[in-house]
């Protein structure tokens, strides 16, 4: 039987969003990588502190929007000139001004799809299980706690990392281990 690969994280709770952002920045300056922050609401300066690269969502949205525009133009051209040509008030069959509203709507719709599903995909959501959920204390992340997770090689001594986090103002630290996916 193949041995399961176990991942570990050190979790640290901070009492204020500012403390979390400061601690994240300082941990990153010390060379820690792969960290993540958790807070009950959007965190100002969180992604800057984590040093995340620019989001790829705008590019996906643009591609979605252009796909929508192309789809709408192709669909209306085919319907109105080939599939079911109708003479409306003597206008040419290929009347682009009349197609703009549909083209606009479909462009917006596909761009929105791109944003919604692109964001879900990039965040690997939905994710029904993650080892951090095993920690009972971590539940405060959805009410009033501001958490930082630092990856830790499984089986190694987590005490130095925990001490550093406590020195940065963490109110509690804990170690979770589990199978990621």
């Amino acid at each position: 039987m193949e041995a399961t690969v176990l991942d570990s994280w050190v979790l640290a709770e901070f009492s204020t969003p500012d403390a979390l952002v400061t601690a994240t920045r300082q941990m990153r300056e010390k060379g820690f990588e792969g960290m993540d922050t958790y807070s009950p609401y959007p965190l100002h300066g969180g992604s800057e502190a984590l040093g995340l690269p620019p989001s790829r969502v705008p590019f996906i949205a643009l591609c979605g929007g252009l796909t929508g525009v192309a789809t709408a133009l192709a669909m209306q051209t085919w319907m109105n000139t080939i599939d079911y040509p109708l003479n409306i008030g003597g206008r040419p069959l290929l009347s682009l001004p009349a197609w703009v509203p549909i083209t606009f709507e479909l462009g917006v719709l596909f761009a929105a799809f791109g944003i919604f599903f692109g964001l879900l995909g990039l965040s690997r959501l939905p994710q029904p299980y993650h080892p951090v959920f095993e920690s009972e204390e971590f539940r405060t992340a959805s009410t009033h706690g501001y958490w930082l997770s630092v990856p830790q090689a499984t089986g190694t001594d987590a005490a130095p990392v925990m001490d550093q986090l406590k020195a940065l103002g963490a109110t509690q630290v804990t170690l979770v281990t589990g199978e990621k996916e």
Partner: protein, 414 residues
């Protein structure tokens, strides 16, 4: 003179006003204005100079009123991020009374602009049916007494009265706050603004009807006022960006403006580029799809024949190109480059007004150029800019004692 205000980083005194900018602005303005008026009174090109003057006038007054509406909207929304930029808006809209004087030449020009003007010979090509419509159905609104003569025309007095009152009210509260401080003036501004907004919306709409739409009195479009406003509002954001980028140096606020503010200005420019296109297309599509004889000719003139290429070019140059450029986040975070785009949009806004006005003059002959287009543009513009710089003298370039100025200075966009 008020004492300088100091914080830990910068020290601000009232703007002492360097004549380096104001004097040339006034000189260019007055010379160009005299040339335009000379062209009108002394040469045969009366139609050309009158239409050119109307373009120059509506261009600059529209921007000034847009700055007023912008302030009122931001006060209504209780927005804080822009407070560092607000003094510029206040100064730009305080220029409005000058435009009342600058509208006076239009009184002499009206006969060469508006077919409904008594004694105008522009109705020569009209059929008897059209003439009857003009003289019986429309006379109650479009006539020499209520609509036009600036200074005499009733509606004209209302427009400039409302605008001047609102602009000077907001500005004087803001200036008093510079010395007295406190929350009172902010509360007054925030109560006054939502109340005055409906009047601003109505006056700019009817002003655009009177100035621009009645060039072809038999054509009506209820969205026309929004079209004029959309272009002017976009141009106002462009001017705000250019001024802010260049307001560097002693006592000028440009150095304390953050990149986040410029990013927001870029986003607003993008939004209102799209808004202009949305309104322009809405107006066009309803007329095009209904295709009824009273409405179609206005667009027919611009869609077929020599105006066609210009109409198509406007779609690309006023919408698609700037929209594509402004989509870039990187560009919006580079104030200098953003200012270049702003200059481009200001030029294209002038072309847009030319496209609205000039076909009424040349018709099927297509786009032509007349020197007075330039002199009228720089004549009205020079005087407006010069007067704005004159008003800025002796006051701080940012609202130093606004209770929320600190929040605005450390604004981080969400």
């Amino acid at each position: 003179m008020s004492p300088p205000v100091t914080n830990s980083h910068t020290s601000f005194g009232p703007y002492t006003g360097t004549p380096k900018l104001m004097v040339p602005a006034f000189a260019v303005g007055i010379l160009c204005l005299l040339a335009t008026l000379g062209g009108f009174f002394a040469t045969d090109a009366k139609g050309e100079t009158a239409h050119a003057y109307l373009i120059g006038f509506t261009y600059w007054v529209g921007i000034s009123v847009a700055f007023l509406i912008m302030q009122a909207i931001f006060h209504t929304a209780k927005a804080k991020w822009l407070i560092v930029l607000r003094r510029t808006m206040e100064t730009a809209s305080a220029v409005i009374p000058v435009f009342f004087v600058l509208a006076l030449p239009l009184l002499a020009m009206a006969a060469y602009l508006y077919p409904w003007w008594e004694g105008s010979e522009l109705t020569k090509g009209y059929s008897s049916l059209e003439l009857e419509h003009l003289s019986h159905k429309q006379h109650g609104y479009l006539n020499n007494h209520f609509s036009f003569p600036p200074g005499v025309g009733l509606r004209h007095i209302i427009y400039f009265g409302v605008w001047s009152f609102a602009a000077w009210r907001l500005r004087s509260w803001s200036l008093k706050q510079d010395t007295e401080g406190g929350l009172d003036f902010t509360v007054k501004q925030r109560k006054f603004s939502p109340g005055v907004l409906p009047f601003l919306a109505l006056t700019i709409t009817f002003a655009s009807f009177d100035w621009l739409m009645s060039l072809t009195p038999l054509w009506q479009s209820t969205i026309f006022g929004v079209y004029y406003f959309a272009g002017s509002f976009l141009a106002a954001f462009c001017i705000l960006t250019i001024v802010t980028v260049n307001a560097q140096g002693k006592d000028l606020y440009g150095s304390v403006v953050k990149l986040d503010h410029f990013h927001n200005l870029g986003k607003l420019m993008l939004a209102f580029t799209a808004f202009w296109a949305y309104i322009a297309f809405s107006q066009f599509m309803l007329v095009w799809i209904a295709n009824i004889p009273e409405e179609a000719p206005w667009y027919g003139l611009r869609m077929f024949g020599p105006w066609r290429s210009m109409s198509i070019a406007l779609f690309f140059l006023h919408f698609l190109l700037p929209f594509g450029i402004l989509l870039s986040r990187k560009l919006k975070l580079q104030p200098r480059k953003l200012a270049v785009v702003a200059v481009y949009l200001l030029i294209i806004h002038a072309v847009d007004l030319y496209w609205l006005v000039w076909p009424a003059l040349t018709g099927d002959a297509g786009p032509t150029f007349h020197w007075s287009l330039l002199t009228a543009f720089f004549g009205v513009g020079g005087i407006a800019v010069g007067f704005a710089l004159f008003l800025a003298r002796g006051h701080y370039t940012l609202t130093v004692k606004d209770p929320y100025i600190a929040e605005s200075l450390r604004y981080v966009q969400p």
